[in-house]
């Protein structure tokens, strides 16, 4: 059998097996070890375990459990309550204001955290019940929380960009900086969408009543601003030493944990229950990620052995004779489609090693040392979209788990549509104007 066919067979078997609903890591690992044993005989059996040794050497991955832990401490100890209150008193008076405030809340949480789980947890425990109680449209609310929390992987710190950095062998610090402007742009466009939508249909997102507005004094408005100091303190404690090169990425993530725990303890909210829940849930989420990555690494190693990268590469550039931009757009489209059906972490570890070398070779008119930084941002936004697109998206499932029963799966699926369009628009903008992403890293690291 030609090697491309074997690669295709492996991929389709994996997709088919996923439909059975068995644990994702086991299915990927099964296809990987079965293929390696049948291709390379008895010696092929070590491939699965070699992936574990390889994973051990991925030092930056240690930041993953740290960011997960930070996120859980933040949501379990309800550290973000005061932050939500701040946006509530400042933005409540305009139609859609509370939804806009939720987007800004998500931006701040994203700046303290590397995944979307924390944002989802905080958004659905604080913002969701409050907005529903005030008569906001349930689809608008769930959409805002899902889309807003996905900013967690674009705005630094970002775990997805750490994984990407390991695959692309690009510096994490520049990738993180590259995510800042696109993240803010996306948040701005979410807010613009909410503003336009609630101006047209104010019944979807009512403003606070005059009576309630009268109760909010200027004194309270000013005093709530103190809450805003916390995210900046945590962000600075992590990022300043890291960007200046005093600490490594992993060490910075531990400083972030220490700062978050200290903040929770100072507010006397770091209780035994918070400690137990945060520690246990961190184990669950981190272990889940790691086992998927472990299996996907073995899968990727078999793909590598088959020369699948070269096959895809020559298929696009030589056989099809496509222009670099057409290839790039096709890659993003195929990635979006795969993202609908595949587990996102697995996709990252399996598909990124196929696409990244190809992008590095395309002539897109961007300096070669920056093209992978720029692509990292495109890549992350595509992952964000994958988190939101049915049938398989982490945020959709998380939303289902967090939302009250009157919100149906159909509501959740429909709620993300406008936000997915906004994200695709941002993706297109960054493809057309690479400097949106590259401006900040070039400013801080001129060379």
């Amino acid at each position: 059998m030609p090697q491309e066919m074997i690669a295709l067979l492996m991929f389709s078997t994996m997709l088919l097996l996923m439909m059975t609903g068995q644990r994702v890591f086991g299915l990927i690992g099964f296809v990987a070890v079965l293929a390696s044993i049948s291709l390379w005989g008895a010696g092929g059996h070590t491939m699965g375990f070699s992936a574990a040794m390889k994973l051990m050497k991925w030092y930056p991955l240690i930041s993953l459990p740290m960011f997960v832990y930070m996120g859980y401490v933040m949501s379990e100890s309800r550290l973000a309550d005061d932050l939500y209150r701040m946006f509530h008193v400042w933005f409540g008076r305009i139609p859609g204001g509370l939804a806009m405030g939720t987007v800004l809340l998500m931006v701040l949480i994203s700046a303290m955290n590397g995944l979307s789980v924390a944002g989802m947890a905080i958004g659905s425990t604080i913002a969701l019940p409050e907005l529903l109680r005030r008569g906001y449209d349930k689809r608008m609310v769930t959409g805002v929380i899902q889309a807003g929390s996905s900013l967690g992987i674009l705005i630094p710190p970002s775990v997805v960009l750490v994984l990407y950095a390991m695959i692309a062998r690009a510096p994490v610090s520049e990738l993180w900086l590259a995510g800042v402007m696109p993240g803010l742009l996306m948040a701005g466009m979410f807010i613009a969408y909410i503003a336009i939508r609630s101006a047209i249909q104010p019944q979807l997102a009512p403003a606070l009543s005059a009576q309630e507005r009268a109760q909010i004094t200027w004194g309270e408005k000013i005093s709530t601003l103190k809450a805003g100091l916390l995210p900046f303190a945590i962000f600075a404690a992590m990022m300043v030493p890291f960007i200046n090169g005093y600490t490594s990425l992993v060490e910075s993530s531990v400083i972030g944990v220490a700062t978050t725990v200290a903040a929770a303890a100072l507010k006397r909210r770091f209780t035994r229950a918070v400690f137990e829940n945060a520690t246990r849930n961190t184990l669950g989420i981190s272990v889940m990620f790691m086992w998927v990555i472990l299996a996907a690494l073995a899968f990727g190693a078999v793909f590598d052995g088959l020369g699948a990268v070269k096959a895809i590469d020559s298929f696009f550039t030589e056989k099809m004779g496509l222009s670099p931009w057409t290839i790039l757009i096709m890659m993003q489209l195929s990635f979006l489609v795969m993202g609908m059906f595949l587990d996102d972490t697995a996709m990252l570890v399996i598909v990124a090693p196929l696409y990244v070398p190809l992008v590095a070779r395309l002539d897109l008119g961007i300096p070669p040392d920056q093209v992978l930084i720029w692509y990292g941002v495109l890549y992350t936004i595509t992952c964000q979209i994958a988190y939101l697109t049915p049938p398989f998206g982490y945020n959709l499932f998380l939303m289902r788990a967090f939302a009250p029963p009157e919100i149906s799966m159909g509501d959740i699926y429909r709620s993300v549509t406008p936000f997915v369009f906004v994200m695709v628009a941002v993706l297109a903008l960054i493809m057309a104007f690479p400097n949106i992403a590259l401006w900040l890293p070039n400013l801080i690291y001129p060379n």
């Binding site: 994702v24 690992g29 099964f30 051990m56 240690i62 459990p65 889940m288 790691m290």
Partner: protein, 182 residues
């Protein structure tokens, strides 16, 4: 239908308890990891950088997630693509799982095999009949030069326990198909 044989039920209970204990210990490795990394940043800033922190952190992370695997499975943390799966009755799900769990058992079997090979390599293990003999011990190729067999032993243990947890899950599914809960 009669109840499942008692030894099978006993096996499930024992595996569950053992893996729960193992997972609870692994869970706290997170704080050991933090301590090592904090020490690393402190020592780098104020004294000579330590040689051992980077690799030690890597060992702890691997132990954390491999030994925590079975406990995470008990918590139901391992993600499934449950588009169709979630809509089935618990019994139908057990039926599906009883078949598809063989993919996990196969994968983990191969992982145990690979881990055993790698572990015996790290000890240069040779067999004189049933008596093992140690040869040259494998060390990591870094300045600290730690022995590699302890971490490989932990990984082997983790994969074996994960395999046992999957077999326990299979037994539990079979029980559920027959209308029992263990």
């Amino acid at each position: 239908m009669g109840a499942l044989p008692r030894p099978l039920i006993g096996f499930v209970r024992h595996v569950d308890r053992l893996n729960y204990g193992l997972g609870r210990v692994a869970m706290y490795l997170l704080f050991v990891l933090m301590a090592v990394l904090l020490w690393s940043s402190l020592s780098k800033t104020f004294f000579n950088p330590s040689l051992w922190t980077l690799e030690m952190a890597q060992f702890i992370m691997v132990a954390y997630f491999i030994l925590g695997g079975p406990y995470a499975m008990q918590m139901g943390a391992h993600v499934r693509m449950d588009l169709f799966y979630a809509q089935q009755s618990p019994r139908r799900r057990a039926l599906w799982d009883a078949f598809t769990i063989f993919t996990l058992i196969f994968y983990l079997g191969v992982m145990v095999w690979g881990a055993w090979d790698s572990f015996s390599y790290s000890l240069s293990l040779t067999w004189d009949g049933f008596i093992p003999e140690l040869g040259r011990l494998e060390r990591s190729a870094t300045a600290w030069r730690p022995y590699l067999w302890p971490i490989k032993l932990l990984m082997l243990l983790g994969f074996v326990m994960m395999l046992l947890q999957c077999i326990a899950a299979l037994i539990r599914d079979i029980a559920k198909i027959r209308g029992e809960d263990i």
